[in-house]
């Protein structure tokens, strides 16, 4: 039987949404609750929540001391230090501290640097763009780092801009953990919504306005327990933005542990400016399986209301990680997005990638994206990221 391109594309759409829906149902209805903290895929190591390894309770940004140990002893390659012995592992954990532990007791400061670039092919050949080179400084104070401060400054060069206009911050906040369950964070942060995948051009981030520069000034109220993780974040938008288009509102996320290595969650955001109102909602599942593998799935949509017209967008995301061996992870991203459901158009992405931790303190990630639309036209793009922490 001959498969026409149109049938093939329709089949791809059904497949992405089908997978996303089936994982949501699987997590919500079939699997029983169990005992139940980086990247969302580290659920495969039993880390259901992000807050153990990152200063930000919903992930992204600098690592805590605990996160450094996890990266050194479980995630990254280790050719020289541990030799596979218990004693060696302890030495490895100690070596993961700031400057190898030399300055750990004398300063609460934890600096890190990051790089993100985009490469793509044109008729003239390969082009590359520096997206972001940033430095962050995190500091934890009081017992168990109850009080934390995170500052980040990124160099994001743009055509036509010079001097300080080329710098921006994506995370600058103060956090206080009231006890083991409750925390309050105030400042500039990402909104609490959905799976915080590092692919800032994913439909799940664009349609819901949670992309690379969409951080907001607000207060995040955070709750975590064995079974639940909840975040509620009233926000005023980015206070440096023109007040007419600055979105003010509230976002919320609830995650429930429905299995040993399964988290299912739902999120919502309602925000408005003088020009538009955005309502977005999503359901997601993070699932760990096998020896170091993970599957992420999110299904969501948004409604953008303006004086002229309303627009409904839908998206599905399925991302699979598999551990090739310690330090090297393969990944495959499938995405489908309809920016306006009233139009007969869509965009889809098939994205293979690789994540490599050649040694502790270093992460390299290479993502390929084949993007195509309803006409069948498509193109490849590549993004790469390099992260160091000291």
């Amino acid at each position: 039987m001959v498969q026409t391109p149109a049938k093939g594309r329709a089949r791809y759409s059904r497949c992405v949404y089908g997978l996303a829906i089936s994982f949501l149902i699987l997590a919500c209805g079939v699997l029983r609750p169990g005992q139940v903290q980086a990247y969302p895929n580290y659920i495969t190591y039993g880390y259901k929540n992000c807050g153990g390894c990152h200063y930000n309770p919903f992930g992204n940004g600098p690592l805590t001391d605990y996160g450094r140990v996890v990266a050194a002893t479980e995630i990254a390659e280790d050719y020289f230090i541990s030799n596979g012995t218990d004693e060696g592992m302890e030495k490895l954990a100690e070596s993961s501290m700031f400057l190898g532990g030399l300055a750990n007791n004398s300063t609460p400061l934890r600096p890190a640097i990051n790089y993100r670039g985009l490469g793509y092919f044109t008729e003239a050949g390969f082009r590359s763009v520096l997206m972001d080179a940033s430095a962050s400084l995190a500091a934890g104070f009081m017992e168990d780092e109850k009080l934390t401060i995170v500052l980040q400054l990124a160099y994001s060069p743009k055509e036509g801009l010079s001097g300080m206009d080329q710098f921006r911050s994506r995370e600058s906040y103060v956090g206080y953990k009231i006890n083991d369950h409750f925390g309050v964070y105030a400042g500039l942060m990402d909104k609490a919504f959905g799976i915080r995948v590092p692919d800032h051009i994913a439909f799940s981030r664009i349609f819901t306005r949670n992309a690379q520069d969409d951080q907001v000034h607000g207060v995040l109220l955070h709750y975590t327990s064995e079974q639940y993780e909840i975040g509620i974040q009233p926000f005023l938008g980015n206070m440096l933005q023109d007040s007419q288009i600055r979105h003010k509102g509230v976002s919320a996320i609830v995650e429930h542990a429905v299995g040993e290595r399964i988290m299912a969650g739902g999120s919502g955001v309602v925000s408005m400016s003088d020009v538009t109102t955005l309502v977005a909602t999503a359901g997601h599942v993070r699932l760990g399986y096998g020896e170091g593998h993970a599957l992420l799935s999110e299904l969501g949509g948004s409604v953008l209301i303006s004086d002229v017209a309303d627009r409904v967008s839908l998206y599905a995301l399925v991302q699979n990680f598999w551990k090739i061996r310690r330090g090297i992870y393969g990944l495959l991203t499938l995405e489908h997005g309809m920016v306006d459901t009233s139009a007969e158009s869509f965009q889809a992405v098939v994205g293979p990638g690789i994540q490599y931790f050649p040694m502790q303190r270093v992460e390299y990630r290479l993502d390929g994206y084949y993007r195509f639309n309803q006409t069948g036209n498509g193109d490849w793009a590549i993004s790469s990221q390099l992260h160091f922490w000291l």
């Binding site: 000034h217 980015n238 004086d307």
Partner: protein, 130 residues
């Protein structure tokens, strides 16, 4: 010792608070597309300009927002010419136009492939008539 720690903690907090204020620079993000031209009210300008703005909004602004420069904020001809991307009356000197066709049938923008010829023509007509 305790007093010293308290003092240093206070110092770090003050410096950090100032740092947070300073570091939270730049207010461009996804909301930039919410300009009146994109969804609030009718375009204010000539028909050629409004047609061209529609092409730009549909083809360029989804990427040229936030970190890639908030093109959604350019809603008047004057803003486009003062941005340096458009030279009045000279499409061949306007980077907005040139980069769409600087390689035979396409250009290095948009990355996903050339815009249709009629839309390309719309942009040229606008810039030529400024």
């Amino acid at each position: 010792m305790h007093v010293v720690l308290k003092k240093s903690l206070r110092r770090v907090l003050i410096v950090s608070a100032i740092g947070i204020g300073l570091a939270s620079c730049q207010g461009t993000n996804s909301n930039d597309v919410d300009t009146p031209a994109a969804g609030g009210s009718a375009c204010d300008g000539t028909q050629e300009f409004c047609d061209a703005l529609t092409v730009i909004q549909e083809r360029c602004v989804s990427c040229h927002s936030g970190v890639h420069m908030g093109w959604g904020a350019f809603t008047t001809e004057a803003q486009w010419t003062s941005s340096g991307r458009v030279v009045a009356g000279a499409p061949s000197s306007s980077t907005l136009i040139v980069r769409l066709r600087n390689h035979s049938t396409s250009g290095d923008m948009p990355p996903a492939g050339a815009i249709p010829d009629d839309e390309y023509r719309t942009l040229i007509d606008w810039v030529s008539g400024i």
